[in-house]
């Protein structure tokens, strides 16, 4: 067993990664405490910062499977659920800021924005789609849904990532640099899945009437 592998399976590593994922909360608080740009419009700052960290965590979540294969570190899977749940944690903060602070719970006003402003329509859709993934992240739900169904449901993360990038791109005024960077990252990570899918498909013997059901290891080990 390699040293890296033993680090990956240590419970302390999990604790460390858990705390690391909380660090952005500290960065945000520190900016609000001493950065005058953040203090000028703290509501907008909080919306933008939590939004950025949401998409960061979505990208990290999507990167885990390719990194497992490329780096030959299957144990990286141990962190995927946690990182994914952190994506939901930050999107929940993002959404809550918009609801509670930006709009002071003015539901009709917000609903009008969801329908009328396309960047909000897209962002709101992504948030709604993330909720069931967070809810069904437990082992109990994997058993209840069955690995295959669970896996299908969780492929929604591909849609969510694309919606997230569009949400960002439609929000900025003119400088698309950052949305383009996220777009390229998400594009590469999704292209990897597409590549794997094509390779798997072409591996199957041509002309076989009924495809063998794919061997399920555990739901977690797949794409």
């Amino acid at each position: 067993m390699s040293a890296i592998n033993s680090i990956l399976i240590s419970k302390w590593t999990k604790v460390f990664v858990f705390l690391l994922c909380l660090a952005p909360v500290g960065f945000i608080a520190w900016d609000l405490y001493q950065n005058p740009t953040a203090q000028a419009d703290p509501t907008k700052f909080l919306e933008h910062a939590t939004g950025t960290w949401t998409i960061n965590f979505v990208v990290i979540t999507l990167a885990i499977t390719p990194l497992r294969k490329i780096l030959h570190q299957p144990q990286l899977i141990r962190f995927r659920r946690m990182v994914g749940l952190y994506a939901f944690f930050y999107v929940f903060l993002h959404f809550s800021t918009w609801v509670a602070i930006d709009h002071s719970f003015a539901w009709p006003e917000m609903w009008a924005d969801v329908l009328k402003r396309r960047f909000i329509t897209v962002g709101f859709s992504a948030f709604v789609l993330m909720a069931p993934l967070a809810l069904t992240s437990t082992a109990w739900w994997i058993r209840k849904l069955g690995g295959k169904n669970w896996q299908k449901l969780h492929r929604l993360i591909y849609v969510i990532a694309i919606l997230g990038v569009i949400h960002y791109a439609w929000l900025v005024k003119s400088d698309e640099t950052k949305p383009i960077i996220y777009g390229v990252l998400v594009g590469l990570l999704l292209a990897y899945r597409l590549g794997v899918w094509f390779v798997n498909r072409s591996k199957r013997a041509p002309g076989r009437a009924i495809a063998q059901p794919e061997k399920l290891e555990t739901a977690e080990t797949h794409i």
Partner: protein
């Protein structure tokens, strides 16, 4: 530094009842926040000293304009830390960080086009061309935030008196400084640079249109448009071009950078108008910077509250079409 509420609160700062009542819903949250804030005060010693703009100097001998708003001035620290100045980067903090070494020495502004007496002014000559006044204006950004700033300058119309526009002059074009060596973020701005802006001649002649050299008693900091800029309080902030190098009187409506970027989002006039939304967001309300969390959105006023001085210029125009 924690943001403290302005001392000179006016009626405009009174929280509307509906908002106040809505806020009761998370009173508990506010109490928790107050506890956290108290804890933060202990961190004061840890906060780094922020970079102060050192490139400004005091301006003296100013007259106080009698029509200044009595609303609380936005803290200077905020006006110098939260800027849209895409030549220096598109994040709000970029101009304060990247404009510190911007060289504004040997500045000149050339004024020409359809005029009898074209002239290139040195900055010094330009500052002495008319008496400087301090004017406290509301300033509303197209993004939905606003500030209250004590600007120092004089009406643009003084320039017309000197150069004498001919009858052919119907519009005025402004050009801002652009040098990629000093502004390496320029190519990523997503808008055409050098920055172009413009006005109709009557707008240029309006007494509110200010050629601006300073704010808060001093010359302009680089991130706020040093050494000379335009301030047009009834229009969205992007109309108020910074770091001015060229004023040209022209026959036809001149191209403007934001209008070239997206003509459906940024009209040539771009008067503050709560009834015409930006396609991607509402313009009905605005957030006054510096109010901290829970500072309510305030209603945006037609022409940013300067209708008495400017509305007559737009009589007979459809402001939904000519937004």
């Amino acid at each position: 530094m924690l943001i403290k509420p302005g001392q000179d609160l006016t009626y405009a700062d009174v929280t509307p009842k509906s908002v106040y009542q809505g806020r009761r819903k998370f009173l508990a949250g506010m109490l928790a926040a107050a506890g956290a804030a108290a804890a933060w005060k202990g961190l004061d010693a840890l906060a780094p000293e922020s970079v102060e703009a050192s490139n400004t100097r005091p301006l003296t001998g100013l007259t106080k304009w009698p029509y200044s708003t009595t609303e609380a001035e936005t803290p200077e620290k905020i006006v110098t830390s939260y800027n849209n100045y895409y030549e220096f980067g598109t994040d709000k903090s970029d101009p304060a960080n990247n404009a510190q070494n911007f060289n504004t020495s040997n500045w000149s502004v050339s004024v020409g086009g359809e005029v009898a007496k074209p002239r290139t002014f040195s900055l010094d000559d330009l500052m002495k061309a008319a008496p400087l006044e301090e004017r406290i204006y509301r300033h509303r950004c197209v993004e939905g935030w606003s500030i209250v700033v004590p600007w120092i300058g004089y009406p643009l119309s003084n320039i017309a008196k000197i150069v004498q526009p001919t009858p052919k002059a119907k519009y005025v074009a402004f050009q801002s400084y652009y040098d990629q060596k000093q502004m390496p973020r320029g190519p990523f701005a997503g808008i055409q640079l050098p920055y172009l802006e413009g006005l109709r001649l009557d707008e240029f002649m309006n007494p509110l249109a200010l050629l601006t050299f300073g704010m808060y008693g001093e010359t302009l900091p680089n991130q706020d448009g040093a050494p000379v800029r335009v301030v047009l309080p009834w229009k969205y902030g992007f109309k108020s071009a910074k770091a001015l190098v060229k004023i040209t009187f022209v026959k036809d409506q001149p191209p403007t950078s934001w209008n070239l970027e997206s003509s459906v989002e940024y009209g040539f006039y771009s008067n503050v108008n709560p009834n015409v939304d930006h396609p991607r967001w509402s313009q009905k309300t605005e957030r006054r910077l510096g109010g901290g969390f829970f500072s309510p959105r305030i209603p945006t006023q037609m022409f940013n509250g300067y209708g008495d001085q400017v509305a007559s210029m737009y009589n007979g125009m459809d402001l939904r079409k000519d937004f």
